[in-house]
Amino acid sequence: MITAENVERFIEENSTTAVLNTLHAMTEEERLGLRSIASRNAEIFRFREIQARPLKTVGPSTAQDNHVQADSNSGVYAEWQRTVEWYESAKVIMLYCCDFEELKSAGRSGLPSADHAFAVLSQRKPRWLDKWCIYLLGSRPVEYWKTVLKLESLCQRKFKHTASYYQALALGLSTCLDMENLIEESPALLSDFYTFLNSSTTIRAMAAPSAVVRDIEFANFRYFGSYELPPITDAYEWPKRWIQCISSLATQGKLDRDRLVEISFQTLANVAEVQKKRAASYMPPEPIAQFLCSLNDALCPDKSAYLQKYASLIGATNADVSVYAIKVFLESSSTALPIEDILANIPMAFRNRDKAPAVSALKLLAMIEKSSVESQEAVALAIIESFYHKSKAIHKDAITMLVRGNFCKSEIVQDKLRCSLDLLEGINRTAAAKLLANNTTGASPTGSEERMHHEDSEPRDAPDLKVPDNLDRKFVSLTGIDNLCEASRTTSAFALAAAVLKPVNLVSLDVPRLYADQKLDYIETVEDLIFLLSAALTKPPSAQNMELMLDGIARFWKSVNHEVDERNQSLRSALQQVVPYTGVTYDRTPIGALINLWLSGDRADLDKLWFDNTNLISRCRSLWDRMCSNLVLPMLATPTHKGGWIEPLSLVRRIKAYQDQKRLLDKSGVFDLPKSFQIFIQSFSKEESPYSNDAAEFVQALLRLAPDGRKEALNEAASIKGTVGKALRYALGGGDISTIDQPAFAIAAFRSREPRGICPIFGDTSRQNLPDVIYPAKYSYNSDEIVKFLNDHYRTISPRLPDFLTVVIDGKTAFPQETLFEAVTANGLASLASVNEELYRYHLYPTLLIHRNRRNMFESGGRDWSLDWLQNKEPLLARMAKVVLQNINSIGNDWQDEFSVLFDPDFALDENGSWFFSLALTAKHDDFRRLALDILIAAVEENRANPEKIGEAIARLLEHKFTVVRWTKSFRELSRVSPLHALFSWQALMSLLAIVKGGCPVGFLELILELKEEYGFALSQESLSALEHFGGSGKIAKLAKSLAAEGVSWSRVAPLHEAAHQSLSTRIARVERWQRSQYFRKSELKTD
């Protein structure tokens, strides 16, 4: 007898069989006496077994390993075998004495081998036997399924047949070569077989045993910390075994074939709903659909009886099922195919993302077409459905079938083809259009096809475009209306096309910017200010809102008693609570410091201020300074109108108000600078002192000065004193720049007056190489930078933007002169002070600072640069293009700056804007690409973009591996908008082709061909020459030859004329809008 005292010794001295027999002989009460020690005992022997393991057998081992081990080290092996048996005896004792919960928590230690487990439980027959069996089947199905079946049979109890029960049976039986006999011999299984087969868990275990075992291993690993499932070597054979077995049982009549077939179709229909998943490369596939197809195939040798069922599976979402169903018909010898059902389902096969169903479906349609003459029209309609598939090869095959079958005589087919034409691209589209044209029966065409054929094939007379009388001459010239009208009177279609697409001159200072209805609504009450500030603490404000907030603080900060006013409690509380978007303590941000000063009178240590946007922070400092001086003055640089413009007269009045308060006077109070900056100023930049505390404000205001109404303002500015007065008057069109003794003021005034000119003073100073200071910035394309950036795996988090539009002056790279920002990244915040100093050096030069290439961690909250310099947006556009390049393959939303500013109808996009479009139209982010196309559509309509420059930019970018298909998609979509947009696309493609010559991707050539066919546009001479570079006899060469064969002739000019009319009307609308501007004088109207 085994007792708690002798259990360990008993195990060591006896075999497992002896232990088993002894336990058999004991009463249940005696066995329960061992319950408390059984678990501990099993753990002891488990450790002894682990300790005794020969070294090489530690870890998952195979029988082969053990055999080798036995040969090489028989003594150790024998010792280990003894401990294995002891451990087994301990497990037997546990299973005999413990209850289910104890066994479950013991894991493997409570689980002897299958034979021993059966021996124990068949004798013990505990009340928790069902639970134990289900638990076992879930965790160790392959080893214990037979034990469970035997117990079920022995105890004459039907356990709950759960999903894991069926799964274990399916897996277990798969391992048996005599599976068929086992099923036959098991009445329980035979009676349950149909339910068993209809379970999705069973199907998976049969079809993808490896995947199921892998999942169980995973689960066991979580529970037990390791797994000991038997290695599966022939899992790929198991599904075949099942199919043979079921088929054989059905053939022998042991299973009802009809029922099996019914189940087979039901399971096929179930799986048909599920899209075929592409397994990750490291995971084995789960070929469930193939298994079910094979099973169905085996069960239905004569498929003709089930043709309707197969017809319903043709449109299955699962590609395998769809292909299988179609194959049934392709191989069928039946003469009575359910053609109506087939044709009703086949369109769904063409909507499958996989190609295989579409290929098979076309074959089936070809077969039906031959066999059933009366169905030809329906077949043709079904063939056209294939245009919804994404594969061009499918389109090509479909068109070939349509041509061969001569189907397009029918009007219904023609209508359908016409409606579906836009689904095709390139040669396929051309071929389909030709097919349609050849078969048109005289019915009035509609849609896109109408455009292709209702036009006269011969050029018409040039359009009669006239300059309306009520337009201002200057504006007519700026918008190119005169040029367009003149070109319309020439006979050259090329000249007309050039005039149609010529961008409006939006750089000129004659372009009006101020409109009465565009005046900004300022904050009117303290509450308004609190709500705006609270919102800014939650999400970054727009540039305009930032200005309104600063202005609000400047005007209202004194109107409340901060000690008592409860209204401010919320703001104070928000300031303390909010995790600011800057990632730093909020009171260290400029706005935070201002709110703090306003609410609590807390004069922050300015040295601690987070230095981000140099000119903006300087302006905050100036406001902070005025608040400390107890002054209530409006901000100088707050825009008066939307778009950031300041009405000159308003600025003059604001400056007067400042001077009345003894501000903005020469030698007025020097800013109380932090020590580091004072040292810096003394050592580097004596000429920039004195640092008037309002200097940054003034500089920013000059750069926002609207061109309208400067003359009126100049008269009123006569009384403004000092350097400020001189600079202001110069900006307004008067004065002499050489008298302005502050370089920063002089530069700002000059850039306000001549945004792209060369500043006549300081020509010899060190500022020469700074863009948009003395010299205007010139951008040069730097291909190496793109290569470097695309190879950088960390590019999307890089603190530095890819400087592919390098600013070069006299052959030298200009600002930023050094990789200072990279150094900061490397050294962390320790270098921040030097960065601050570096930036502070230029804090009065906003035109320069827009050229900074900093991004990410140094640029908080998506800094909006759009209001820093309004007369010249090229640095802003260059920056935007760099941001797009940095995120060209990103699908995240975090990087998207404020691009809606590009919808401004007076925003020129014809220079660096071309780089922005070229990159944005091939960006991976779908929504962003769509936004960029929206901007381009608007820009084309408003004559703000330059097709040649866009074509040129894309041609240069083609040397890198950007996705061509995104460009072609974008241009294709652009062309669909209107003839003007189509002409724009054409011109861009001509420009591109002329540069890349033989390297032009086929997608672009196809698009050129489409546009040529559709609109009759003519190739340019340069493009025609480029086409000669395509040699060989391949597809591309043929395409190029067919294009070149057209020469440089305009096959139709009506679309060009339509584009010309469209362009003229938008230009006229622009002039009319300009004439509604605030300072437009009627005397400037054309009178003759």
């Binding site: 179709f265 939650t538 908008v977």
Partner: protein
């Protein structure tokens, strides 16, 4: 304050406001008791689609017995409907399985058509299919609303139907027949998420906002949909516009005249399988970016209504309630309710003359009945229709968690009215929340608060709890 009146009535069904903290439950227990499992099986020697019913005015109503004229197409439509009800277009958590259990469609029989209504699991998409009388030939037995069982084997069987099959349709079953042989009672206990229920009743309010914007042929919409990425990438807050251009339509990110704004447009791909059956498509849009698509099919009409964002369900955020500025008495509501008789079109003019009530009151009453699950809204007819959701809405502890929170704020004395400018009707108050203090301002033309929630939604999802608390406080002091 009218706004708070309505909120409280809707939340509690009571006229008087009871200020007190209530515990919010995320789901209620519900049991579908079907007398049999829906299936496609032999009925009278031919294939038959048997739909089991559960709930409503009768326990297991028997609506219809007849033939399907076009089984394949009807099956395709029902499958799409079912797919939408099982789809979670937005997955923030791990409660998928529980949510899926609630997905059985609601069907209303008005004696001339069967209306199937479902909601997506995420509550952001509502679909309705009006199976017209001409597509089914048979006997209309009773009127009412019930749940129908859409189990997986039935769905699989539906997908194997063909047009050449002769298929009968039975919605519910004869009680005599059932008593003879039915032993397959299907009882399914589920947790119905409150959010899902709330969406079901609230979508009616949103539907009244949409206006017809464009009509297009199905091919055009198909072209737009196949251009979308294969993966359903749901960019939070991204609205795409279907914009008319010279040649058809294009997808744009920018509002334009005549464009339809669609939030998380990938959801529209749910309609793809139906487009080949559709004869025309009508798109509806609204300023709130709620969009609706009406597919005209031979079998009837199919509607898909999409919320402004994938992450934003139709969970009754109070937006519609804000619009209900006018008071409407309980008596009016009761009168209108008494006149509901499963009409497929409730016309305010007619009701007005029948009931001798102001037409605006009728409209408001219908809107409130919509939020109580008693009427639905048909965007196509621009009219309400009678149906009573088969769920016991009294089980829902609290439909408006924000109101609950507001009550708690008032109860704990956290609201302090600081100023009332009577001439301009501006009320300013401070509300002390758990972590912060908020400034609230209520004007005649709107409200604002300094809390994050209000800053984020800018009032587009109705008032925040702080605004509601101020309203409650004012009402309390008025008494």
């Amino acid at each position: 304050m009218p706004l708070i009146d309505h909120l409280c009535k809707l939340a509690t069904g009571a006229t008087n406001i009871t200020v007190g903290a209530g515990r919010l439950s995320s789901a209620i227990d519900y049991s579908y008791d079907y007398r049999f499992a829906s299936a496609v099986e032999a009925i009278d020697g031919r294939q038959g689609l048997k739909l089991a019913t559960s709930g409503g005015l009768e326990k297991n109503p028997y609506f219809f017995n007849g033939m399907l004229q076009n089984p394949k197409r009807t099956a395709d439509i029902l499958l799409v409907l079912s797919a939408i009800s099982r789809t979670r277009f937005f997955s923030p958590g791990l409660i998928r399985e529980r949510m899926l259990a609630a997905a059985d469609p609601v069907v209303t029989c008005d004696g001339g058509q069967l209306r199937f209504e479902v909601f997506s699991v995420c509550c952001g998409a509502y679909a309705r299919f009006d199976l017209a009388g001409k597509a089914i030939d048979g006997a209309w037995l009773t009127k009412g609303t019930t749940n129908v069982d859409f189990n997986p084997p039935m769905r699989a069987a539906l997908s194997s139907l063909n047009n050449s099959d002769r298929v009968s349709l039975r919605v519910g079953s004869d009680s005599v027949e059932l008593s003879k042989g039915a032993d397959t009672v299907v009882e399914r206990k589920v947790k119905l998420p409150v959010r899902w229920l709330r969406s079901f009743v609230e979508v009616q309010s949103y539907q009244t906002m949409v206006k017809p914007a464009m009509e297009m042929n199905p091919g055009e919409l198909n072209k737009l949909l196949i251009a979308l990425p294969q993966q359903n990438i749901m960019q939070a807050g991204v609205v795409t516009y279907i914009t008319p251009i010279a040649r058809g339509y294009r997808l744009s990110q920018r509002p334009a005249a005549g464009a339809v704004a669609v939030g998380a447009i990938s959801r529209l791909k749910a309609l793809e399988p139906l487009l080949r059956h559709a004869t025309s498509i009508k798109a509806y849009t609204s300023e709130a970016n709620v969009s609706a698509f009406e597919l005209t099919l031979q079998e009837g009409k199919f509607f898909l209504v999409l919320s402004p964002d994938a992450a934003r369900g139709f969970s009754g955020e109070g937006q519609a309630l804000s619009d209900m500025a006018d008071r409407v008495s309980d008596a009016t509501i009761a009168k209108v309710r008494a006149n509901l008789a499963w009409q497929s079109k409730l016309i305010p003019d007619q009701l007005s003359s029948v009931l001798n009530l102001n037409i605006d009151d009728i409209k408001n009453a219908l809107q409130i009945l919509g939020t109580r699950g008693l009427v639905g809204f048909d965007v196509s007819a621009n009219a309400y229709f009678h149906r009573e959701l088969p769920f016991d809405l009294s089980l829902v502890e609290d439909l408006h968690p924000r109101l609950n929170k507001a009550k708690r704020l008032v109860e704990e004395g956290r609201v302090k009215i600081s100023s009332t400018v009577s001439s301009e009707q501006v009320i300013t108050a401070n509300v002390r929340g758990e972590n912060s203090e908020y400034l609230v301002q209520i004007k005649d033309d709107g409200f604002r608060c300094t809390c994050d929630w209000h800053v984020k939604h800018e009032g587009s999802r109705g008032p925040c709890s702080h605004v509601l608390a101020v309203e409650l406080k004012i009402q309390e002091s008025d008494k």
